[in-house]
Symmetry: C2
Subunit: 111 residues, 2 copies
Amino acid sequence: MAGLCDTETMRVLHHPTRKSLRLSKVMHALSDPVRLSIVRSLAVRGEQPCGTFGLSVAKSTASHHFRVLREAGVIQMRAEGTQYINSLRREDLDSRFPGLIDAVLGATGPV
Amino acid sequence: MAGLCDTETMRVLHHPTRKSLRLSKVMHALSDPVRLSIVRSLAVRGEQPCGTFGLSVAKSTASHHFRVLREAGVIQMRAEGTQYINSLRREDLDSRFPGLIDAVLGATGPV
DNA sequence: CCTATTGTTCGATATAACTAGAACAATAGT
DNA sequence: ACTATTGTTCTAGTTATATCGAACAATAGG
């Protein structure tokens, strides 16, 4: 039972600040079908750990995609027990790129 | 002086149909700073030939970027004399991905 | 016919990206 | 302590992308 802020042992995850988000990076993060499915799942079902997305790629590949999304500023990851809880950074994205996530989520048809 | 429809000699440019546009392809096309600047220029200044964008890349590189945009369905190119006139496929994009182009064009800050 | 203009295509290189397996790390539970 | 769970990191292979220079193609205008 860890405290709420075991700074020493807490795994470090790099997240860009809202201001440092770059459109081209975000667009690139959203240009992969696997990552798009992650984002859509987060939008629909809310925050969830990596293992619950039903991705049809290897664990290490999934980890790569979560990292790309995180480093582009699309998702936030926080450690909780043995797992990482992911969530969409909607407020930050809406603030910097108004309408972008709505458009991505609203798009129909094949990815 | 060629006619309006010299089908035999007209250079063939592949453009995807509206229905066949894919979000991941469009997102990828819009994930490069050079291509984003092309799209923004088209949105602001309207259709224009390749040579008028002031791109700081080699001719062949620019040609590559125009091709990526065209094959993703982001722009339309038509031959006119010795040049190719480019235009944004706004209606098609707005139809398939409502709000996406608006969001890209409305985004502020560094690319 | 010759030349200039515009942009494409080809060939080559360098970098980045996607993929996976194996090993590792952190935590939870017994 | 031991084990199971969750996900990361490392290493590697394959593919894709960005870039450029040189050669080519189509057209316009002397």
